[in-house]
Symmetry: C2
Subunit: 447 residues, 2 copies
């Protein structure tokens, strides 16, 4: 029976607890979380309460924060304590971050002091840092443990760990000595000591590292988990690959939003209010509109002359659009290349040389089409066609060069290159293409 | 000693094999692959040959295809056979796909017939399908095996498997019965049978499924590996999360490139020739340039009238840019929302209603600034300010509505919504904003 059918049954019948329990028992916890989120408020809590204890906190972890709040507000203190005791630290912190103060207080009151302290510590790591996405439930072994004992430790403690496939080896003061994978353990002889088989130079992150850089390391080295250490290299937590997949998707969304002239937001679109959405947009629209007034000023300077040759007006949007598109093609490639670690500011000369030659090639193609088109449609005026085509060609070259330089400059002065994308380039190229246009028109047509 | 220092030593000294072996032995295989790729042709092969046999094929798998070709061309038939025998099937297929025919033939000749057959089969799965990224090295258990025997099987066969953390259970005709994780095995009693502890309803993919959809499943369910089955639900391979991270990054790059009016390419920028890069760009530039001629036609229709009120020209670029930016903000959000599975075509009414109200809000903010600015700078002409501002407001609303509708329509008619992004919207909004502008100017200023 699939999710939709189960949802239909829960919604259509009087709640028959034992039947629903049976229906849900065959489902993946993520599917159960999705079903709960489609029920009405009162039913969510009723159904949540009948979930088997061993899966309730997992289901809770996968729910959106507004539904988590509905559930938490309906639970007793004891029930809150039970759910929380089984929730992994990273999920706990995610949850706490989204709750209003009164809920946070009630939740923290029902936690042991030690866990409360840990939560407060993790909440203090900078947003988007490795520390803010790590969890603290890992399997911990010591150097002198023998492999067969390690299995015993995993068996006893593994159920409540985020992963048992990488185990962490530290000395007494929690300094990270190495990691050992479950694969290494399975393939080792039972009497070998952990110290002999562990990897003593694992890839690790500092708590303050940017989570995006950490995600790049996971990608590059194909990792399943990574230890996180503090400044003194003491192990404080681990990050697992499922959370990294989230980070990669979120960071990409953020880049795409910045490139689309939006203030990035991690709220889902349909759940965000229109005032918030409007706020995310108006800053860039206003900034770009005000910088576009530059084009107005340039045109108004040439207004009198343009009245003399009004046909010149006709090509302004076309020249500006084509220049903008050419520039954003280049900036898109450079921004993405830097984001995935394929391009670096040091490559600037190679990039410029490449883009210059591409502009020559592309300009040749577009120029020929443009020359013929303007000549045929607009009164077989060779000089006019030539002036428009020359402007197109020059604009293309400038657009490609700016499209290369601006994202790299942004990176060098520590601005996110993504904000230098299409809209920004377009605005700058617009102004430049007008200046070139009028200069060329003056030279060729005697404007 | 870090990578750069080792690279320096290899490059600066006469090759002292035993010293280099020692230096490399402390490194991660991905770092070794990177070092090899920075050496000159002759040195790559010399150093590759001295790598310990157990890591050589792993290092090979992580190298770019041009370096793989250099190595393969320098190896003897026996050496090729050795490397290939240890290469995972997914890496083998990736490698074969990039090699020229003569190299492919030589490689295939040195493989056992069975493996050759399997490669040919996988090569036939459609590009971007789950089948094309799967590998065939998985741990296979049967229902009646007991847990302690399962460990024996993993110990014996696990070294050559892509993952040992999920094991696959099939019946005699290879039908997938279930999966069992290493965690389940470790936490089970030694005498339990696999059939009792396996998950009988695992998330799986068909060979022909889109790899992007498979990646979404990994993301949603936090998976480490997924079984791939044929039409008859027979197990043919598995996909692991490290390959999925690649898929997610590649698919995002593809979307971003399409949104930047580029034909997507999976070649790294610096390694792509300028003719190829120019070809990836000219199609969209030409198409958008030709559609921008629509703006030329509209303007030339109003040319005579504009000469009468030349100040109108001044605001054309500003109106077009702002409309284009407003439209691309919306299309960016909708395209990304659909890509990450947060928005669906069925949400269109909610989206339109939201965007309409946002346009009203944002238009109010921009409109006020615009009204004041035009009034103050351009001769305190209230009617002119009003005409420009009304155009801005109407363009914003239309841009936001088109920005919502076009990506959704694209999805419905099975075109990738990403191609409906900024450049496309801008071109359409440009033409519409001109039409509105002239209509409003006519009504208010009596153009």
């Amino acid at each position: 029976m699939d999710k939709d059918e189960i949802l239909f049954i829960i919604n259509s019948e009087l709640i028959d607890i034992s039947k629903i329990k049976l229906l849900l028992s065959g489902l993946n916890i993520i599917d159960i979380a999705e079903i709960l989120q489609e029920l009405d408020k009162e039913k969510i809590t009723r159904i949540f309460r009948v979930l088997p204890k061993n899966i309730a906190s997992d289901v809770f972890a996968y729910m959106d924060s507004d539904y988590q709040q509905i559930i938490i507000e309906a639970l007793t203190d004891t029930e809150i304590g039970e759910i929380m005791s089984k929730l992994f630290m990273d999920d706990t912190v995610d949850f706490i971050e989204e709750m209003p103060a009164n809920v946070v207080n009630r939740v923290l009151e029902n936690l042991p002091a030690e866990k409360r302290k840990l939560i407060n510590q993790i909440l203090q790591y900078p947003e988007d840092s490795a520390g803010s996405i790590m969890t603290t439930e890992y399997v911990h072994l010591s150097e002198n443990t023998e492999v067969h004992d390690a299995f015993e430790i995993i068996r006893k403690t593994g159920l409540n760990k985020e992963t048992i496939y990488t185990c962490y080896v530290t000395c007494d003061d929690r300094l990270l000595l190495g990691v050992v994978s479950a694969k290494d353990l399975l393939l080792a002889r039972p009497a070998e000591r952990i110290g002999e088989i562990m990897d003593t130079a694992p890839i690790f992150a500092y708590t303050t590292d940017d989570r995006e850089v950490t995600a790049e390391q996971f990608h590059k080295y194909g990792l399943l988990a990574m230890p996180v250490v503090d400044k003194e290299k003491r192990l404080v937590g681990i990050i697992t690959v499922d959370d990294i997949v989230n980070v990669i998707v979120e960071e990409n969304t953020e880049d795409i939003e910045k490139m689309g002239a939006l203030a990035p937001s991690d709220e889902p679109y349909l759940k965000t209010g229109i005032f918030q959405l409007a706020r995310n947009r108006i800053f860039w629209l206003l900034a770009l509109m005000l910088s576009a007034t530059l084009t107005s000023i340039i045109i108004s300077n040439y207004e009198a002359r343009m009245v003399a040759i009004p046909i010149l007006m006709v090509f302004i949007p076309l020249l500006m659009d084509t220049g903008g598109n050419a520039g954003s093609q280049t900036s898109t490639l450079i921004i993405r290349g830097m984001a995935v670690g394929e391009l670096f500011p040091k490559d600037i000369v190679r990039i410029l040389w490449k883009e210059f030659r591409i502009a020559l090639l592309v300009g040749l193609g577009l120029g020929i089409v443009n020359m013929i088109w303007v000549y045929v449609i607009y009164g077989q005026d060779l000089m006019l066609s030539f002036a428009v085509t020359m402007t197109l060609y020059s604009t293309l070259i400038i657009a490609k060069i700016l499209g290369s330089i601006l994202p790299i400059v942004a990176r060098c002065i520590k601005i996110d290159p993504a904000v230098m994308a299409a809209p920004m380039i377009t605005t700058i190229v617009d102004a430049l293409s007008l200046i070139i246009y009028f200069a060329i028109a003056k030279a060729i047509l005697g404007l």
